[in-house]
């Protein structure tokens, strides 16, 4: 197969406080076997040879598990393929002569650090608010010491597959972080270890999510479509249900309003 020449429109922004703008670049001779990030690496080599600033973008594992890569590609977080992170997107998905728009994940709660890099610390704050079990459990227990029905374990695992990339926020018309937060809530809500603090956790995590300035979910489900890990919107329903319980049913109102321990 022949190599590709492409026109790239890339968001350039020197730093968070500076104004940004789209800038157009040409790249030539991209192999269809290259990953999308390798294509950007080629562009950056070209830029450096010309003495220009390379385009800043995030990545780490480049195998779809760390959640570091971001990028909105032609209007879709992580690009056109379902269930795929940007680092797993390959150039065979494009054709010679294509124009590609590359923008950062956009949300007020994800401020741009530089070019295509955004600060997703707000997600850390949500997890820090309650995405764990407070009991000190010592070393790892024997497998199956705590019996968990397979279906429950599967659902917990499906939720735990969230890599915290933020594509759900980037895709949401409202910049809501409900899918991420729901995945973290649901992961523990399906396990026996998560039960004692279940309602306290959901309350604390939703409070942290709201404080970070994300938008409000209005059930568009763009998050589910964009999520590279196939996290289901059904977890959002679970979070909605548990949150209502934490307000209207939970007895330890004091502990609840104080947030997770």
């Amino acid at each position: 197969m022949s190599d590709m020449n492409l026109t790239l429109h890339i968001w350039r922004q020197a730093k968070g406080t500076a104004a940004g703008a789209m800038k157009t670049y040409q790249v030539k001779g991209i192999s269809e076997h290259a990953s999308f990030l390798e294509m950007l690496d080629v562009l950056n080599e070209q830029l450096q040879e010309k003495g220009e600033e390379p385009v800043a973008f995030d990545s780490d594992c480049r195998e779809g598990i760390c959640g570091m890569c971001s990028l909105v590609i032609n209007g879709r977080p992580h690009g056109p393929d379902a269930g795929t992170t940007t680092c797993q997107l390959h150039m065979r998905r494009f054709k010679n002569g294509d124009e590609i728009y590359i923008e950062p994940f956009r949300a007020g709660a994800f401020p741009v650090v530089r070019d295509l890099c955004v600060d997703r610390k707000a997600f850390d704050d949500i997890v820090a608010a309650g995405g764990y079990v407070t009991a000190n459990v010592g070393s790892a227990p024997d497998a199956n010491a705590v019996p968990i029905p397979k279906e429950q374990a599967d659902r917990a695992f499906d939720a735990a597959a969230c890599i915290g990339c933020g594509a759900c926020v980037a895709a949401c018309p409202n910049s809501s972080a409900m899918l991420f937060t729901a995945a973290k809530v649901a992961h523990l809500a399906h396990l026996p270890q998560g039960q004692p603090e279940r309602l306290r956790r959901v309350k604390a995590m939703v409070t942290a999510m709201d404080a970070a300035g994300f938008g409000n979910c209005s059930n568009h489900y763009e998050c589910e479509a964009a999520c590279p890990k196939g996290i289901s919107k059904d977890y959002i329903a679970l979070m909605n249900r548990d949150y209502a319980k934490s307000v209207f049913v939970a007895k330890d109102a004091k502990a609840v309003s104080d947030g997770a321990g």
């Binding site: 429109h9 968001w11 940004g20 789209m22 909105v72 032609n74 209007g75 879709r76 728009y101 923008e103 956009r106 949300a107 007020g108 709660a109 741009v112 018309p173 409202n174 910049s175 809501s176 409900m178 939703v206 409070t207 999510m209 709201d210 300035g213 994300f214 938008g215 409000n216 979910c217 209005s218 059930n219 568009h220 489900y221 763009e222 589910e224 479509a225 964009a226 919107k233 059904d234 959002i236 329903a237 679970l238 979070m239 909605n240 249900r241 548990d242 949150y243 209502a244 307000v247 109102a253 309003s257």
Partner: protein, 226 residues
């Protein structure tokens, strides 16, 4: 009550408030539609129905007050959510492609505001009698308030008919999203009735648009006449 205030101010609480008030309004829309399908049963029946509603006295005012409260809460919460959501993405995308959402879900604020304006007009027309005062005080041969003739004469007016068709269509677009969305917002979600969660909105919207358009179109095509 501070716990309740912080509940409705939270993102989950606000959407549940939208869900509960929206559900109340959908139920009203269904009852209102069924009531007006009575236009097909003739002047006597329809006026008897109107007479019955008028005669409810205190109950009528309680229902009106409740409905108004629900409506105002739904509207204020909706507007404040729409504003917060717009503000949550200060820098918009140059290119953004949606794959899952619908145009009616994305225009909820717009259709909501148009429906609001229409409802004000609708009340001025049929409840307050300001729009066509000449038709407002007719009595039928049993001495009852003649709602039937007001309806027919009202929709003989092409401008009123068209504004009504447009408003009802927009209302049903609003409900195509809202009338199913409340299930997810309240966390009522299970594979057993996933088909309901998915289709309740569009299905109800289709039923309502048919039910709401039938009587005025009946007037327009002379199936319902004086």
């Amino acid at each position: 009550m501070s716990w309740f205030v912080s509940y409705v101010r939270s993102s989950v609480g606000a959407k549940q408030l939208m869900a509960v008030t929206g559900l109340g309004l959908v139920l009203f829309a269904i009852v209102h539609m069924i009531g007006h399908l009575g236009m097909f049963s003739g002047r006597d029946h329809y006026n008897a129905y109107a007479h019955f509603l008028q005669g409810l006295g205190g109950l009528k005012w309680i229902a009106r007050g409740g409905l108004l409260t629900i409506f105002v809460v739904h509207m204020i919460t909706g507007i404040s959510l729409a504003r917060a959501n717009a503000a949550a993405r200060p820098q918009k995308y140059v290119v953004q492609r949606y794959t899952r959402t619908t145009f009616y879900a994305r225009t909820m604020a717009l259709t909501g505001l148009v429906v609001l304006a229409f409802i004000v007009y609708h009340l001025m027309h049929f409840t307050l009698g300001w729009i066509q005062p000449d038709y407002f005080h007719h009595l039928d041969d049993k001495g009852r308030y003649d709602a039937y003739s007001m309806f027919v004469l009202g929709f003989k007016n092409t401008g009123i008919l068209i504004s009504y068709l447009v408003a009802v269509t927009l209302l049903c677009l609003h409900l195509a999203h809202g009338a199913g969305s409340w299930l997810q917002s309240l966390g009522l979600n299970h594979p057993k009735y996933a088909v309901l969660t998915k289709n309740a909105g569009p299905a109800l919207a289709l039923i309502l648009i048919a039910g709401y358009l039938a009587p005025p179109l009946g007037v327009a095509f002379n199936l319902i006449k004086l």
